[in-house]
């Protein structure tokens, strides 16, 4: 067991810069676990709700599932500022594009807009984004745009610091052809497991199901999360 007890640790330790304590100099990060799953007729997306500045939890009820358009969402991980800025820019571009075309935008278009920005500014940004939604042409789609700016469509995708702990769970429990309720259950379990192990993930589990009829959001509070260990 690797528990660490630091008797001399002081939350107000100052580093070289005298003006502010160390924790206030750390970037605000959506430490995070995010995921998205395709099913026939839509997608289910999920995220935890913890935002940290170093070891301090700046927001324990964050909403990392951000609407980009009526039927397209993105899950944000990495720097909170970077992902918010990119999401705002893409929301604007996609809205304009949709009005020009006089048609609801494609999920692929939204994902490509994210990719363009994340690739062009890859040195400056720290943003790992999952774009998911529904459109008339290809139904439910999940595109992952990790740091560095590549893009790939996947039936199920996980991201963020907590994702490392649930790749095994995802690989062994995901089955193609799940229903919406099965996907929601799958996401809840995966998020719970990640939040349990990753220090930068926690709080509540936020979920959303996006279909042709719209978006249905759910919150699973901390005490309602499934219990995996009996301890």
């Amino acid at each position: 067991m690797a528990a660490c007890m630091s008797a001399n640790r002081s939350e107000n330790a100052f580093s070289a810069n005298d003006l502010v304590p160390e924790w206030a100099q750390e970037e605000v990060s959506t430490g995070t676990t995010i995921m998205a799953v395709e099913f026939d007729g839509g997608v289910v997306i999920g995220a935890d709700s913890r935002t940290t500045t170093g070891a301090y939890i700046a927001n324990r009820v964050t909403d990392k599932l951000t609407p980009i358009h009526d039927h397209i969402f993105c899950c944000r991980s990495g720097s909170a500022a970077d992902t918010q800025a990119v999401a705002d820019a893409v929301t604007y571009q996609l809205g304009f594009h949709s009005i020009e075309l006089d048609e609801p935008p494609l999920v692929q278009t939204a994902a490509n807009l994210f990719k363009q920005m994340c690739y062009r500014y890859r040195e400056e940004l720290m943003a790992g984004i999952i774009v998911a939604g529904w459109d008339k042409r290809k139904g439910g789609q999940v595109y992952t745009v990790p740091m560095g700016g590549m893009i790939v469509r996947q039936p199920v995708s996980v991201g963020g610091s907590g994702s490392s702990y649930i790749y095994g769970f995802m690989d062994s429990n995901y089955k193609p052809g799940m229903t919406k309720e099965e996907c929601l259950h799958f996401c809840t379990q995966a998020l719970t497991l990640a939040m349990e192990r990753d220090g930068s993930s926690g709080g509540v589990a936020r979920l959303a199901a996006i279909t042709e009829d719209g978006v249905e959001r759910r919150v699973v509070l901390g005490n309602q999360l499934p219990k995996f260990s009996n301890v």
Partner: protein, 270 residues
């Protein structure tokens, strides 16, 4: 009897009876009855050119162009009037060919930038609106002249199906099931209206398009011509390309045979 000539202060000469000549020297001037003459003159340039038609059917789009051959010394197939704008988009033109070539480059850049930014094929409605906006910009200023060409854009897409749009020198784009531009456009439109294009396939339509071009071609005024035929649809897997040699020959044979039949039936009536 010619109307009397008038000399103006800056030595321009015009006929006194044509009062519109004060308002037709630049695209930035309206006439008193609300017309922009430069744009209308540009459309006349299109009407002097030989005919091009485009027809949309159940599973694709077919273009046919009557390419007049002014000299026997020309290499066959030079000065094409049908362009590839993107893999799934084709463009047939009438009017000043150099203007049309410049606009085909504009259309290609638009389609390419769209794919680069948004990751998928440009919808034809959007492309035609963008190119029409570009054409329109040249009708606003006296420093430039309007484009002297009209063109027909056609595409086939898995999701949108076949699409056909026409853009004229004024900068408006129209969506069509069938349209014609150039000197015989009225005659061609009459023939097109006789077709039930919504129920036809590309293979059937190719023959009809060839026939229409042969019908509207004026043997007396214009002698030799080359028929340029292209299509895009399910039959080509969504790729715009010139019609293959065997299909072309079959279509031309059908066209020539139909014309002979009509000549024969005329004789019988007499």
């Amino acid at each position: 009897m010619l109307p009397p000539l008038c000399f103006t202060a800056d030595f321009r000469v015009y006929h006194m009876l044509s009062s519109k000549l004060k308002y037709d020297l630049s695209a930035s001037t309206f006439s008193p009855d609300g017309r922009v003459f430069q744009v209308e003159y540009a459309m006349k340039a299109v009407e002097n050119s030989s005919t091009a038609i485009g027809i949309r059917c159940k599973d694709g789009v077919v273009f046919g162009v009557e390419k007049l051959v002014l000299s026997k010394l020309y290499e066959q197939g030079s000065n094409k009037r049908i362009f590839n704008v993107d893999r799934h988009v084709g463009m047939a033109v009438a009017g000043l060919l150099a203007d049309a070539r410049s606009l085909s480059e504009v259309a290609r850049e638009e389609a390419s930038n769209f794919r680069s930014n948004y990751g998928h094929n440009i919808p034809l409605k959007h492309l035609s609106e963008r190119v029409a906006m570009y054409v329109h910009a040249y009708t606003l200023y006296s420093a430039v002249r309007p484009f002297g060409c009209s063109f027909i854009l056609g595409s086939y897409d898995q999701d949108d199906g076949p699409q056909l749009y026409m853009v004229d020198p004024s900068g408006i784009s129209y969506g069509y099931w069938g349209c014609a531009i150039g000197k015989a456009k009225q005659a061609a439109k009459t023939e097109i209206e006789k077709l039930q294009m919504k129920d036809m396939t590309c293979r059937e339509l190719v023959k009809e398009v060839a026939k229409i071009i042969y019908i509207v071609h004026d043997e007396v005024k214009d002698k030799a011509f080359e028929l340029e035929l292209s299509w895009v649809g399910e039959v080509t897997n969504g790729k715009h390309e010139l019609v293959p040699k065997d299909v072309r020959e079959e279509a031309e044979k059908y066209a020539k045979d139909s014309l002979e039949e009509e000549d024969d039936s005329d004789e019988e009536n007499m």
